[in-house]
């Protein structure tokens, strides 16, 4: 089972954090700090896996963003790499050529898409079509554009 998934920029700015186990705030901050320093210090073309305490860390860089997750010892590293990749594909399909800014400005969408894909640190659905369909469906449930435009900005 995956323990956490973090997205951070090359400058170490955290863009998304998903914790699949309840951890005290202090511990989360420590993990974020350790992950960013460890992963950002890696040289190019090194392998995508690290050991950290009793977890396996799997990370991959997509453009300016690092995707980094913590796995238990019996989990499969290669498959975790593909979990990260599939998540990127899903974001890409939703936003259309996703970039870091999309995730900053629509962070809640990034969480919702992740929720369709993973739950409790395990894969819920691997089909890109099914996930895209349920994300689209929830978008359909929203107000019309007129409703939206008539709302005050503050």
């Amino acid at each position: 089972m995956m323990h956490f998934l973090l997205l951070f920029s090359r400058q170490g700015k955290l863009r998304l954090q998903k914790w699949f186990l309840p951890l005290p705030e202090r511990e989360r901050k420590k993990i974020v700090k350790d992950m960013t320093t460890m992963v950002l210090a890696r040289k190019p073309r090194t392998c995508n896996f690290l050991h950290w305490k009793d977890l396996k860390i799997v990370y991959k860089r997509y453009a300016s963003l690092y995707f980094c997750c913590g796995l238990e010892s019996q989990d499969n590293e290669l498959l975790a790499l593909e979990i990260l990749h599939r998540y990127v594909e899903l974001l890409d399909k939703y936003f259309g050529n996703v970039c870091e800014l999309d995730i900053i400005f629509n962070f809640e969408k990034a969480y919702f898409i992740l929720d369709e894909f993973l739950m409790g640190g395990e894969i819920q659905e691997t089909s890109k079509q099914s996930i895209a369909k349920s994300v689209e469906a929830s978008d359909m449930l929203q107000e019309t554009m007129e409703e939206y435009m008539s709302k005050p900005a503050f």
Binding site: K43, C47, N48, H51, K53, N76, R86, E108, S130
Partner: protein
């Protein structure tokens, strides 16, 4: 500000986010945030009721602020209100807020649970999924209490939508992991297993995670999943990549599901049904074959997915450890990966081979790759790959290649990354000790280790070399000579000085005949390092000097001169000053006889397993230790590391010698005992005199020690107590424990489910022990499993005397733990408090059962449920002597059955454990493999806990 891409962007939120991004400094950001918080607070508190949209927007802003790393202390109520909105997005944001900012505020939890309950019963699949996600994200016990009953119903109900089933399965898994006691097994469990057959691949993918976890905990109840999993796997493996439509990932059919199926199978032993097993072996072979086929795509995603399945299949093959053919194929496949251009594959191949190395079938095959692995250690550019290579070398090391591997690791150490040096040092030290045929090689290796990587040589390592040198007189002369030579280097590491000081202080006489290493030369050499060393090392050197005075009377005047110098006798460090003063007095007052007694050669250390292993284990963390090391770690039974032992020893002494500020520095003094403890009365009183004469401190040294701070509560069990316990598994009499003050002997006898134990407490000192008392307790569950009654014991033990205590034991039902024996007494005013494990183990209640070969195997087969069996494969700890093995097995209490096993090398035993509640029949089979120096131990009992416990106990014995 970029255009909001889709759906309902919230303009206010986007404006706020871009404001934050435009902030030039942290202060500006905080200012902007505080402004926003004030705004939101006033909106929430305002008289005007907010509409759903505004509420959603503000809650979302709060969430954003929280995710930036700021504290949020309001808005929870508004978020909870959103949960009951009919608008999907409002509900969704509400749930997201709750999931991210879990609050244990019980009032709120009740409201949240209410909203969840409504959504779960709404029959709207999107709402149900949101609610299930929230439960899984929060996963608290309160939520488990509220929903653990409901979710299994949703999961198996016939009319539940597929997407809801997927969420329900994983939500239930989450709750089961937090609160297994609240998820009750029932009728639904059998229907869950059949989800493996579900048409919808997504449902199978989600459900299998749940099934795997449940199977691990209740293997029996879920064992039907094995054949279902095999047939599902076989269908996937043999399908064309187009068959599974969207579940094919870069031309690989259902990689996630395949891996999870293979993982599920790893919860069980190989299938017993021949047809199922045949089908599975076929699958595994197909997977191995596919690895050789040309790739269907050049994309890394394709090869990753394909190899993920391959590695998982190899894990299963290793887990079964019974198909030599597959094991060797797996090893060859990994061998190919060792030279692959993908760094990731090289890394994983090294990691996977570590586990293969511990299988007796593939150990040799792994060894053939030694050159490649050594090469990887030397040439890999990535430190984490090098580290895996070092791990693998460690795992594949045995007697045949130890010298090569240790040499390679040593030479790698010279350039190794700082981050892994300490671990490498520990590994080299362990291998050198484990496979030392001649101990001069061992001494060379450790001294090299100190020379190359002195900073990373922890105390455990150099304590250990000293323990070994002290205990083996054949190597003492060599050690003295080598360390003497090593010390001649102009710059040598402080750890080398420590080892040198200790060893020359003990065995310098063995090389003193050579004029090049005459006593004075030795002393001058050591003393030339003195000023460069830290206080603890200087303290050790001073002790070495006083030992020199005893070994070589001709050095006495020189050394006294040194001790008398102001830099020693008036040293500002109290420990050094004290030693200088005491040693000077000792050398001038005491007669040669007294001196010889006080400074006698160190007695051998009790034989024990290396403490370095424990250190390595601790350093790496549980997940990172290979099976092999774990096995060894267990054998050690959590033994203390060297430093801790010192602490253990010295706590007794520190009580009587509260003025020693740094016991850890004190090697000679504390360990030898006489100079500090009262064991030798003449030396003791002499020291007291010396002390008061010197007038450094008014406190008496020994007898009038200040009241100590030892707690009156029973001490936690000594760290070595597990090891002590293991000593008595196969015998009933012996010395249970011994330190400088106290010796505890033990004699015991058992009949049926009853036992009687005699404990003999011997006072080793000349001073009486007062308020001596002992208590025996059964911690936790043990209380209901074992009835232990201890007769009271005399509260006073005279110096040199022994008292006896009788303990009656009744076994009510089978048990895992051992009773605790706490001993308290005062010695010279200081409270001594120690706790040991009483060696009462389940096997003591065995009645041997003789039976013929036919009967044995019939019973063996009857006990064939997987949980009735416990098995361990482990390296031999002692020589594999048939007679010794027989004696141990007899000591265990079972009947040793001759001419039963078709292989005469194997041992089989049978017996019945007598408890008041029931009788538990147990069968044992021990298969030694002399070539690999390994054993396979199998136990089958009518009760699973008994097999497990016996297996644990016995694996420590051979």
């Amino acid at each position: 500000m970029p255009a909001v891409s889709k759906g309902d962007g919230m303009r206010g939120l986007a404006v706020f986010i871009s404001d934050i991004r435009n902030c030039k400094s942290k202060e500006a950001e905080i200012k902007r945030i505080n402004k926003e918080l004030a705004n939101i607070r006033s909106k929430f508190k305002g008289d005007k009721a907010l509409d759903g949209y505004s509420k959603k927007k503000y809650v979302c802003k709060l969430l954003f602020i929280f995710l930036l790393g700021h504290d949020i202390d309001f808005g929870h109520m508004e978020a909870v209100n959103l949960l009951s909105s009919n608008k999907y997005t409002e509900k969704q944001i509400g749930y997201l807020f709750i999931s991210v900012l879990v609050n244990s505020n019980s009032e709120l939890i009740r409201l949240i649970n209410n909203a969840i309950k409504n959504d779960l019963s709404s029959r709207n699949p999107t709402f149900m999924c949101l609610a299930l996600h929230c439960i899984a994200n929060v996963g608290s016990r309160e939520m488990a209490e509220a929903f653990a009953g409901e979710i299994p119903r949703i999961l198996v109900a016939g009319d539940t939508m597929d997407s809801v089933k997927q969420s329900a399965a994983l939500c239930l898994l989450r709750l089961y992991k937090t609160s297994p006691d609240l998820v009750l097994m029932g009728e639904w469990t059998s229907r869950v297993v059949h989800l493996l057959n579900d048409q919808h691949m997504g449902v199978v993918t989600a459900a299998i995670s749940l099934i795997t976890c449940l199977s691990q905990k209740n293997p029996d109840e879920f064992k039907t999943c094995v054949s279902l999993a095999v047939s599902r796997l076989s269908r996937i493996v043999s399908s064309a990549s187009t068959d599974l439509q969207d579940y094919t990932y870069y031309f690989v059919p259902a990689p996630w599901l395949s891996c999870k199926l293979l993982r599920l199978l790893q919860c069980y032993p190989p299938p017993e049904d021949g047809a199922v097993k045949g089908r599975l072996v076929e699958c595994l072979e197909t997977i191995l074959n596919k690895a050789q086929e040309p790739p269907k795509s050049k994309k890394v995603q394709h090869s990753n997915a394909k190899n993920a399945i391959l590695f998982e299949a190899i894990s299963l093959i290793i887990h079964y450890d019974s198909e030599p053919n597959l094991l060797v194929r797996a090893c060859n496949q990994l061998g190919q990966f060792l030279q692959h251009r993908e760094t990731n594959l090289r890394y994983l191949a090294l990691e996977s081979m570590c586990t293969l190395a511990s299988s007796e079938f593939s150990h040799e095959a792994v060894k053939t790759h030694i050159e490649t692995v050594i090469n990887a250690l030397k040439t890999e550019r990535d430190v984490s790959v090098r580290q895996r290579a070092a791990d693998l070398l460690y795992a594949m090391c045995d007697r045949s290649n130890a010298k090569q591997i240790v040499a390679e690791m040593l030479s790698y150490l010279e350039t190794a990354d700082y981050s892994i040096r300490e671990e490498m040092v520990l590994k080299v030290a362990i291998l050198a000790e484990k496979y030392a045929v001649d101990y001069s090689w061992y001494v060379d290796t450790i001294l090299n280790l100190i020379r190359i990587a002195g900073d990373y040589v922890s105390e455990e390592v150099w304590y250990r070399v000293i323990q070994i040198v002290i205990n083996r007189d054949d190597v003492q002369g060599y050690a003295a000579k080598t360390v003497f030579e090593a010390l001649q280097a102009p710059a040598c590491h402080e750890n080398m000085v420590k080892v040198g000081g200790y060893i020359l202080g003990e065995f310098g006489n063995l090389i003193a005949g050579d004029p090049r290493s005459s006593p004075l030369v030795q002393f001058n050499l050591l003393h030339s390092k003195f000023h460069l060393c830290s206080v603890p090392t200087r303290a050790l050197l001073l002790s070495a000097y006083i030992k020199f005075i005893n070994l070589f009377p001709e050095t006495k005047s020189t050394i006294q001169e040194v001790l008398r110098s102001d830099s020693q006798i008036r040293n500002s460090d109290v420990e050094l000053q004290q030693r200088a003063v005491e040693y000077l007095k000792l050398s001038s007052i005491a007669s040669t006889d007294v001196l010889a007694t006080v400074l006698e050669e160190m007695p051998p250390f009790p034989e024990r397993e290396s403490s370095i292993l424990a250190k390595l284990k601790k350093k790496k963390g549980p997940g990172a230790v290979s099976v092999n090391e774990l096995e060894e770690g267990k054998r050690e039974g959590g033994e203390l590391n060297g430093g801790g032992e010192r602490g253990g020893d010295s706590s007794a002494i520190a009580a009587s010698n509260a003025s020693t500020p740094s016991p850890s520095a004190d090697l000679l003094g504390l360990r030898t005992g006489p100079p500090v403890t009262a064991a030798a009365p003449s030396a003791g009183s002499l020291l007291v005199d010396v002390f008061s004469e010197a007038g450094v401190n008014d406190d008496g040294f020994l007898s009038s020690a200040p009241p100590t701070v030892v707690s009156e509560d029973p001490a936690p069990p000594l760290p070595e107590s597990n090891e002590l316990l293991n000593k008595f598994v196969c015998k009933n009499n012996g010395v249970l424990f011994e330190n400088q003050l106290l010796q505890i002997g033990i004699k015991s006898e058992y009949r049926q489910n009853l036992g009687r134990m005699y404990l003999f407490y011997g006072n080793k000192t000349s001073v009486q022990f007062v308020t001596f008392s002992t208590t025996v307790t059964c911690p936790g569950e043990l209380q209901s499993q074992l009835n232990v009654q201890a007769k009271p014991v005399e509260p006073l033990i005279e110096g040199g005397a022994q008292v006896q205590q009788v303990i009656n034991i009744e076994c009510l039902s089978d048990f895992m733990e051992a009773p605790l024996l706490n001993i308290k007494f005062r010695y010279g005013g200081a409270l001594q408090n120690l706790t040991l494990k009483l060696p009462v183990t389940i096997n003591k209640f065995f009645q041997p059962t003789e039976m013929a070969s036919h009967d044995f195997f019939q019973r063996w087969k009857q006990l064939s449920q997987p949980q009735q069996e416990a098995q361990k494969i482990f390296k031999a700890n002692h020589a594999m002597d048939t007679e010794v093995l027989k004696a141990k097995l007899l000591g265990l209490g079972m009947a040793l059955l001759e001419n039963v096993d078709p292989n005469p090398e194997n041992f089989v035993c049978a017996g019945v454990i007598q408890t008041k509640a029931q009788q538990v029949g147990s069968l044992l089979r021990l298969e030694p493999n002399a070539q690999a120096q390994m054993y396979r131990l199998t136990l089958r009992s009518s009760k699973d806990t008994v097999s497990k416990r016996l297996c644990e106990l016995l694996a420590e014995q051979f």
